[in-house]
């Protein structure tokens, strides 16, 4: 692609939504069947494939994908959670009223769609001392964004779980159903042709300037090697924000032990069974770095940080030996643990055949070398039978 086309593509595809691909489960392994962003996207503007999620034409910049992705792969340039929290609407009113663009124009916070709300956004007013949050929910039937409606219920359910844990009454986050209204978004000012072109020119110049170093770089080195991309751990900002809010709230009100079913939980309770062969796939492919592996001089161990885990289940799906087990219920207070827990620790040995480190009982030869020998013998015997 030439420089001119690159710049043109950047201008045309200048979405407000950005994707950090290395956090996307689908990018990390084709064995992931995650399609939460595409399922929730009201404009069907996200495609998920083995290379990860991609925003295509038709994006409305509504931000529902940001809320839907547990790994925080989507970020929003204008109107991020931090931006909304910093706006100050949160500090004054009590209870705080939130509405979507088809609801109540007098609300303190108006989001494009209620599915845009995240757990952190709903807990933030409570952290700041508001008596509650009142969500004005117009009927989603008939709204062009109706496809995203189910995700709002998920967010509310998860937030209620967190409220239970933090000893906050569930009705502090209250939903008021109203019929669907017309768009309450402030009417956009009519723009003259001159103003439009001027704005376009400014924007285009900025983007073009930003795009040029990119183009120069791409000539020198090859596309980022996948292996390096998976090893690089990007911070899941969405999770950091939520954990920060929960920790502050728990310091005020204490913690109730709450167990929720695993499929509804935002973290997981992992156990490593006896099948582990120290291959490290769970640690390599974990998008958020919740599982880490360590080789010391004498031991092999796997550690786990529940606060980082997003319950994406990549570890469970990719473990060939079925050693990763997810418990049926998860105690949400795991989110508050600062320390890593050691999941698995065992003595290491070095194989005399392949000179690689391995774990296992007895033998001096690693299970893989033994298995290889056994398989080859079996194949040859069959051939000459």
């Amino acid at each position: 692609m030439g420089i001119a086309e690159k710049i043109a593509a950047k201008i045309i595809n200048n979405h407000n939504m950005l994707i950090e691909t290395s956090l996307c489960s689908r990018f990390r392994t084709p064995q992931s069947d995650c399609s939460l962003c595409a399922d929730a996207c009201p404009a069907n503007a996200i495609t998920v494939a083995d290379g990860g999620a991609e925003i295509t034409e038709g994006c409305l910049d509504c931000g529902v994908c940001h809320s839907a992705c547990p790994n925080g792969a989507f970020s929003i340039r204008d109107g991020s959670d931090e931006g909304i929290m910093a706006e100050g609407a949160f500090s004054h009113r009590s209870p705080l009223r939130i509405s979507c663009e088809r609801g109540d124009a007098s609300a303190d916070l108006i989001v494009p769609c209620l599915s845009r709300l995240t757990e952190a956004l709903l807990l933030e007013p409570l952290r700041r001392g508001a008596s509650g949050v009142e969500i004005v929910r117009p009927s989603c039937e008939g709204c062009p964004l109706v496809k995203a409606a189910f995700h709002f219920d998920t967010v509310i359910r998860r937030t209620h779980h967190l409220c239970d844990m933090l000893g906050i009454e569930r009705n502090s986050i209250d939903i008021k159903n109203i019929p669907l209204q017309g768009s309450v978004k402030a009417p956009e000012k009519a723009v003259s042709r001159r103003e439009f072109l001027e704005a376009f020119r400014t924007k285009a110049t900025r983007i073009a300037a930003a795009a040029i170093p990119d183009v120069e770089d791409s000539g020198d080195d090859k596309a980022e090697v996948f292996r390096n991309a998976v090893q690089e751990r990007r911070e899941n900002r969405k999770r950091s924000r939520l954990v920060g809010r929960i920790r502050e709230l728990s310091a005020k009100s204490g913690v109730n032990p709450i167990a929720v079913p695993s499929k509804d939980a935002i973290t997981a309770d992992i156990e490593i069974g006896p099948g582990c062969t120290a291959c490290g796939v769970c640690a390599s492919l974990c998008p958020t770095g919740a599982i880490t592996r360590q080789w010391t001089e004498k031991t092999f161990s796997l550690s786990f940080s529940p606060a980082l885990c997003t319950n994406c289940r990549i570890c469970e799906k990719t473990c060939m030996h079925g050693a990763v087990k997810m418990n049926e219920t998860v105690s949400l207070s795991l989110l508050l643990e600062h320390k890593k827990t050691v999941l698995f620790e065992t003595a290491k040995k070095t194989c005399i055949a392949c000179c690689m480190d391995f774990i296992g009982e007895g033998a001096e030869i690693c299970p893989l070398c033994l298995d290889r020998n056994k398989k080859q013998t079996a194949v040859l015997q069959k051939l000459f039978k």
Binding site: R227, V230, M320, L368, F384
Partner: protein, 208 residues
């Protein structure tokens, strides 16, 4: 002994490459004539520059028969079985790879590991019924026989086939090779896929 290089000609390879549709290039090893000299192993090492401990082609020995009666002719012999990658129709390694680094090429049926994707987890070695993929400790990736894809793309035969001193390895499209075996050896040899009809559908042919 078959005549040197008489079975597969350059024209046949070229014709095979020009043909459209799903193809499977593979190797036929006539075990009757393999003397276990390991020239294929060495040619492969030189061609692919593999480190110590990684061999895309290993020659294994199998003792067959039993020496029963000293008065009779002993019915014992050793077969040498070179084992490259079987370039299976349904590769178990490809299914097991957690990052999708292994692909089977449509144009020639060659199974390849993408070294930029491979994370060196060794799942393919666990999954392969022939234990073929090996770990390259220097590069921290898995490696396997590529059927000398860089040579095949130029219309050449794999290094192991070119170098075979007993002229007992042949390279070509699997259907052409099968036809050849039937024409030339039908009376003397049995035709066998290694491991028989297994779930992975291996392509390398052996005759004895």
């Amino acid at each position: 002994m078959p005549e040197a290089g008489a079975f597969i000609t350059e024209e046949m390879i070229q014709a095979s490459i020009a043909k459209k549709g799903p193809k499977q290039y593979t190797i036929w090893v006539d075990l009757e004539y393999c003397v276990g000299c390991n020239a294929c192993t060495m040619a492969c090492k030189a061609e692919n520059n593999t480190p110590v401990g990684v061999d895309y082609n290993r020659v294994t020995e199998v003792e067959v028969g039993e020496f029963k009666d000293p008065a009779e002719k002993p019915g014992v012999r050793v077969y040498f079985v070179p084992m490259p990658c079987m370039h299976c129709g349904k590769p178990a390694c490809m299914a097991a790879c957690p990052v999708g680094a292994i692909t089977k090429r449509k144009e020639d049926g060659i199974v390849l590991i993408n070294k930029d994707k491979c994370i060196g987890c060794r799942y393919c070695a666990w999954a392969c019924p022939y234990g073929h993929p090996q770990f390259n400790a220097e590069a921290k990736v898995m490696e396997k026989c590529t059927l000398c894809v860089h040579r095949v793309e130029k219309g050449l035969k794999p290094a192991c086939v070119d170098t075979c001193i007993a002229r007992t390895r042949f390279f070509g499209e699997v259907n052409d090779l099968t036809k050849l075996i039937r024409e030339k050896r039908a009376e003397r040899v049995s035709l066998g896929f290694i491991g028989g009809k297994t779930t992975t559908d291996p392509s390398v042919l052996y005759t004895k």
